[in-house]
């Protein structure tokens, strides 16, 4: 199919992965609001005389140009009913004031009681990266930002009413899907991750419920609250990122220098989960997570991963499991065919240096073998609604740093034999 949404012509540098005209007018009807044009600021700055200094509200502060701009931005949207409420943020349905059919999600970041150092770092990170990752069809779009009242940040985000991948994976009874559908979803996910990495951004929390679905079936990577830019060599990063089931071995071993390979492992885990419709390696603790990886994928050793034993948290069960070959996966994951399994295995390379990159993933043969990826309009969707609420729940959530994980680091040298 000529318009396969999946495969990027590998060698072209004009990046069809980005800004495809067809995707600009996405069928969910959301227009491209763009940013507040600078001309708006200039227009305001051109009229310093304030019309709003009327004497009606003497105690109120009059508005500075930049504040007027904020008011203008805010007035572009109408906030509707609440879709989700959390400690970190509330999410509302909203629409453009000029076009009520253009729906948006408005994520209102709460001033956090337990965080005393000002604006929450999650919000800062999310804003920082979403501002720079505009225009890709598989990344949630940030249309606008404005502040309301008590300096609450409001992020005007793309409206994604069909829930998330987790919802589809879990609803085994009512949602049926096949290899072509998985290929379509994986294609969209891989392109999103490719775009992040191409822009030197690590997402660091890829998992099914951060993959939201637009009205036209397009999958969108969301929640950049844990994202960060690629660091300079030698600059340490935290190892406590990525929700545990999707966390790669290097982070479990405490690596402080890492690359886009951490996201690729998560992509592999999502791939596996899409196939078997349950989390592939659902460890209850970090120790258990490592044990599961060793058992299901293979024990990281100096042989298969030179240098691994130097990582500060490196501990593995004493019984060494050799790394499983592709054939071992065929039984359980064969639904995506031999090429699909080949791709899966490459995302799950223990050594991050040997793990496939997002770009290499896009160049893999699997996308070009039968069956073709399903067109996004024809992808299975969950009947009976609930998608909006799911979006609300997903967007309001805090990200995957788990407090309990930090404590468990201390108790890492546990006896692996004690657990089954």
């Amino acid at each position: 199919m000529a318009v396969s949404p999946l495969v990027a012509p590998p060698s072209s540098l004009t990046s069809p992965l980005k800004r495809q005209p067809s995707q600009q007018t996405s069928s969910n009807g959301t227009p491209n609001f763009g940013t507040a044009p600078l001309s708006a600021a200039k227009a305001i700055l051109g009229h310093p005389q304030e019309t709003s200094t009327s004497s009606s509200t003497p105690p109120s502060l009059t508005l500075d140009p930049i504040e007027q701009m904020n008011e203008l931005e805010k007035r572009k949207y109408v906030k509707g009913r609440k879709l989700g409420e959390g400690t970190y943020a509330n999410v509302y349905l909203g629409h453009s004031r000029s076009d009520p059919s253009a729906l948006v999600a408005i994520k209102k970041i709460k001033v956090q009681a337990q965080y005393n150092d000002g604006l929450a770092p999650d919000a800062v990170r999310e804003l920082k990266h979403l501002q720079e990752l505009r225009g890709h069809p598989n990344i949630i779009q940030l249309y606008s930002v404005f502040s309301s009242k008590d300096q609450n940040l409001n992020l005007v985000l793309e409206y994604l009413p069909l829930g998330d991948l987790e919802m589809l994976i879990k609803d085994v009874d009512r949602v049926r899907y096949g290899a072509g559908d998985i290929k379509a979803w994986m294609g969209m996910l891989t392109r999103a991750v490719w775009f992040c990495h191409e822009n030197y951004v690590l997402h660091r929390d890829i998992k099914p419920n951060n993959l939201l679905i637009a009205a036209d079936g397009e999958v969108k990577l969301a929640d950049f609250g844990l994202a960060r830019g690629f660091s300079d060599p030698g600059w340490r990063m935290t190892a406590t990122v990525i929700t545990r089931w999707y966390r790669p071995p290097e982070l479990l071993f405490g690596a402080r220098h890492y690359s886009g390979a951490v996201d690729i492992w998560s992509v592999g885990m999502v791939f596996a989960e899409l196939i078997i419709r349950t989390a592939y390696l659902p460890g209850n603790t970090e120790v258990e997570q490592i044990a599961l990886i060793c058992k299901q994928i293979g024990t990281p050793t100096e042989d298969n991963w030179p240098g691994v034993t130097q990582l500060t948290q490196y501990t593995v069960p004493s019984e060494i499991t050799p790394v499983w070959g592709k054939e071992a996966y065929m039984g359980r994951f064969g639904a995506v065919g031999s090429e699909g399994v080949d791709l899966l295995v490459k995302t799950l390379a223990l050594d991050p240096k040997k793990r496939i990159t997002a770009r290499e993933m896009l160049e893999h043969k699997w996308w070009r073998t039968e069956p073709k990826p399903t067109r996004k309009e024809d992808l299975p969707r969950k009947s009976g609604g609930g998608g909006e609420e799911k979006m609300g729940a997903d967007l309001k959530r805090r990200n995957g740093v788990l407090e309990e994980d930090r404590g468990s680091k201390v108790a890492r040298k546990l006896d692996f034999g004690a657990m089954k």
Binding site: P48, L61, Y92
Partner: protein, 456 residues
């Protein structure tokens, strides 16, 4: 074709914070004019009492300023202060930018953080006048927020200890800064580009014998990048790679030109099948054009000429030259200039004194401003969520409330607080607190950062 260029045009640095010199000048002038107008208005409508407690109710009954008519009561005869001109504002912003660099150097912050902090301050004061918000305060805020943005977190209490500030004072300006930055926190710097350029130069066979020259050039260029582009408007007019090449050119013109020649080599090389240098994107104008295969046909060649041909090379060279001229005005040696006593005494101190006389009475005290904001917000809090939905109606209700009185008392109270604040600001001890880098006393200027090195 040149995706790297296209991607740069999608960045907030390009979308929101790149201007032509004319545009930028006009923006600054507008900001200055707008601030004058607003401050005049505010000063006239809320005149500073020359005597002690003037009847605040009387002030209130005065209709909002008729700008040129003096208060009939004559109790304040508000002669408007002399305002800072746009060039004067620019000088002071430059001064505080140099202070940010000095402080972050003493704290051994990474280059990126220093530069981000400096650019935050500069960006903020494009659409905000320093007469409106105190640069001596926003300085700390910008540095704090740059740490937060670049490292993901920062320990506020540690930070406040270093600068002898209260958490309140830092946080009061944080949101303000974010708004002034238009909620775009990413600043793209030329440091990695420099490293890449040096690696590429080192890969040229004939350079192998000249590695010392490369080291010296890199060190000098880095030094320039740590200062010159931040003290000028280079970030507003040029891309990171152009800035890098300009700095390299100042350090060693031959190396920069070599790099540009190698990148935009298309016409020079006969059989154009040679690889585009891998680091071609350092060429600023539009390198990175490798990968085109089977380019025997005419169109591909033409396309290549457009991207890495001599015409674009000359254009790039011209741009680099202009950027070089700009950087040349603030070479690292000028660091001393910005801390030079006579300079401070004759240029900066008078401007600061002038600033204190024409500052915005309503905005200057950030902590107080923040308090008023919260108070206002709290009044609306109970209906927080609904009022967004019903828009205009809610606003009307607020106005009704005002008409029925309650607010009079409130505003009178607020007025008092404001007055107290004003008095403090002109008092001696406040000055030092307001401005730990010296206030009016020149003596403090020199050693204000002396202690920081040891703290970290």
């Amino acid at each position: 074709m040149a995706t790297e260029d296209a991607r740069y045009r999608d960045s907030s640095q390009y979308r929101l914070w790149s201007f032509s010199p004319t545009q930028l000048g006009a923006l600054r002038e507008k900001t200055n004019a707008a601030a004058r107008a607003r401050i005049s208005e505010r000063l006239l409508s809320h005149p500073l009492p020359t005597t002690t407690t003037s009847t605040s109710s009387k002030d209130l009954s005065t209709p909002t300023s008729n700008a040129n008519t003096p208060d009939p009561d004559g109790n304040s005869t508000p002669a408007l202060p002399e305002f800072l001109t746009p060039p004067e504002e620019l000088t002071l912003v430059g001064y505080y930018t140099s202070e940010i660099l000095r402080a972050s150097e003493a704290l051994h912050y990474a280059d990126e953080i220093k530069a981000t902090a400096a650019m935050f301050l500069k960006r903020f004061y494009i659409t905000n006048s320093i007469m409106t918000y105190p640069p001596a305060e926003m300085f700390f805020v910008a540095l704090f927020f740059a740490c937060k943005v670049d490292t993901g977190h920062v320990n506020l209490s540690e930070y406040t200890k270093i600068f002898n500030k209260s958490p309140e004072e830092i946080l009061a300006g944080e949101f303000l800064l974010c708004q002034g930055l238009r909620f775009a926190f990413d600043v793209k710097h030329p440091y990695r580009a420099l490293r890449g350029a040096m690696m590429e130069l080192a890969s040229f066979p004939d350079m192998q014998s000249d590695l010392k020259r490369l080291d010296a050039a890199e060190a000098r260029a880095r030094k320039i990048l740590q200062f010159s582009p931040l003290m000028t408007d280079a970030y507003f007019h040029y891309t990171p790679s152009q800035i890098m090449l300009a700095a390299l050119s100042l350090a060693d013109r031959g190396l920069a030109e070599r790099l540009i020649q190698e990148t935009f080599h298309f016409v020079q090389m006969e059989g154009n099948s040679a690889d585009t240098p891998g680091g071609g994107n350092n060429g600023g104008g539009g390198g990175g054009g490798g990968g085109e295969r089977g380019n025997k046909n005419y169109r591909a060649n033409e396309e290549k000429a457009k991207v890495i041909g001599s015409q674009i090379r000359d254009k790039v060279l011209g741009t680099i030259e202009a950027c070089r001229d700009m950087l040349n005005r603030e070479l690292p040696e000028r660091k001393e200039h910005w801390t030079n006593k006579p300079f401070i005494k004759t240029q900066i101190t008078p401007l600061r004194k002038k600033l204190l006389k024409c500052k915005d009475p309503e905005r200057w005290n950030l902590v107080e401003l923040q308090r008023v904001r919260r108070e206002q917000a709290a009044r609306k809090m109970d209906s927080d969520d609904e009022d967004d939905a019903s828009g205009g109606r809610r606003v009307k209700k607020e106005e009704d409330g005002d008409i029925f009185g309650g607010d009079l008392g409130h505003s009178a109270k607020k007025r008092k607080v404001t007055m107290k604040k004003e008095e403090d600001l002109f008092g001696g001890p406040m000055l030092v607190k307001e401005d730990p880098f010296g206030g009016a006393k020149v003596k403090k200027e020199e050693d204000s950062f002396g202690g920081f090195g040891g703290v970290l």
